[in-house]
Homo-oligomer: 317 residues x 2
Amino acid sequence: MTFGQRFEDRARASQFPICLGLDPRIDDMPRSIIEAARQQGSQDAAITYAVVRFHELAIAAVADLVPAVKLQLAFYEQYGVAGMVALRETISIAHRNKLLVIADGKRNDIGSTAAAYARAFLGGASAFGELIPAFNADAVTVNPWLGRDSITPFVETARKYDRGVFLLLHTSNPSAVEFQEARVNGEPLFLMISRLADELGEELPSEGRFSSVGGIVGCTFPEAATIIRSAVPSTPIIVVGYGAQAGGLDGCTACFTEQGDGALVNASRSLTYSWPAQIRDEEDIVSTIRERVLRMGNELARGCRAARPEPWSERQF
Amino acid sequence: MTFGQRFEDRARASQFPICLGLDPRIDDMPRSIIEAARQQGSQDAAITYAVVRFHELAIAAVADLVPAVKLQLAFYEQYGVAGMVALRETISIAHRNKLLVIADGKRNDIGSTAAAYARAFLGGASAFGELIPAFNADAVTVNPWLGRDSITPFVETARKYDRGVFLLLHTSNPSAVEFQEARVNGEPLFLMISRLADELGEELPSEGRFSSVGGIVGCTFPEAATIIRSAVPSTPIIVVGYGAQAGGLDGCTACFTEQGDGALVNASRSLTYSWPAQIRDEEDIVSTIRERVLRMGNELARGCRAARPEPWSERQF
């Protein structure tokens, strides 16, 4: 089954179009996790334990509510090899819980190096005549700045292994306007890149309404989000910047299709960090994350219904 | 000592302004490495052994000739955790041999995530009250597409730990023209980004002629290289695309300053792969890589002298 089809199916089967961001920040984890981690035999074991156990709980809290997790690779890499072990384990746990895994690495390079990144996250490298699965995600995020020939190696690997690619279409940070909104012949670059995502998606097999080449769109720029969604109706979108970055509902709503689907709204810190001191045990962690996801889901539902009542009054949330 | 100063000093003390690219491709390594790797106890151990041992030999071959190595992170990540162990070990070996280590990851993200990438490669993350050094390079390459606020977290970490940042100014692939040469108010984006590198470099302390915010420039676009170098005379440059990508000498020459310094020309595959079948043992590997570096160094010297005799007739190579 193509990634686009899985994206559509999983979203339909889930209560909320939310993507849970798993960005490990050990020093901000609840005390019970830290204390258990300190019992491990070494610093490396403590790091891996904390990240894996915390994500195991977060995934248990929401696996029946949301279709996907997005793993911010920077936060694993900052902990070195122990962090990369935790990345591999977190991906396995998410897959055991039937969640789509987006490796958010914003990777990019040319030719054979882009192909190596694609192997790292979407397929596997060969060594000694065997396939090494490395970090086995369903999709990887790609920075498009190096142009088409730097993106096609990811698309080819996605084709081979039925995986997905998400191009950065418009990011959520204030400086996104500097280069991404630069206009060439009157058109902003982010629109050219959105069309490129659409075109590359056309080249992959597709069984459903959505292609396997998606986009990352910041909800902090609702106008850009509106332009993007109307230009690329069959591109799956991960919406970023909601919650922690004070992004608005308008930008989220704009990323859904006329039918009220095709987008997942990501939130990371706002769901999984800022722990009150009274959090005691693992049960508290699970219930708190679940409550926060339910609250965000309801906020989104209200916002979406207010913006365009038509599709959402019939949807599951 | 600032990174810019170390860049200048190491280049001056080396015979050739060459950066050795270490991009592990296990299946293309010489047979003797593969055979020794197969004797290791597990697949992971075999991967780590092959990458580390091959790089140990490559570094031994050239440590007295060149000032720096550039590690293409994609080629380590493709081998999963075992590849990341090899990355950490390769960095240590390069440092023991007094080489500057450029982590070529083309990392990019916003705010706190960019800071996590910076910690991963330039400093260290904190966990359980200790500093985790992760992957301890001298500089990291950064894709500038997300704009200034996505680059400053790298610059701040570089300041804190006396490290460097190399922005992608103009890449070497054919599609580089698509977005990087897009013109805004008549000026190509790569020039705007070069000026940004210069400006951010000014904000860091500098003891020598070169700043600690450098640039990556493809030698396959000599005109762009000329524009960049004349706009940013104190930006250290790593030249890419020489050799394997059929890049020309003109583009390399253009990246050096009027004084004949300020640039290192990277080559990876052309120095370390395409092994003839008769390569038998580790001594052969060392001598072959050394010969190739000497040949490339002499080619560069002839090309540079032909282009601008003035500075290079007095230089060491």
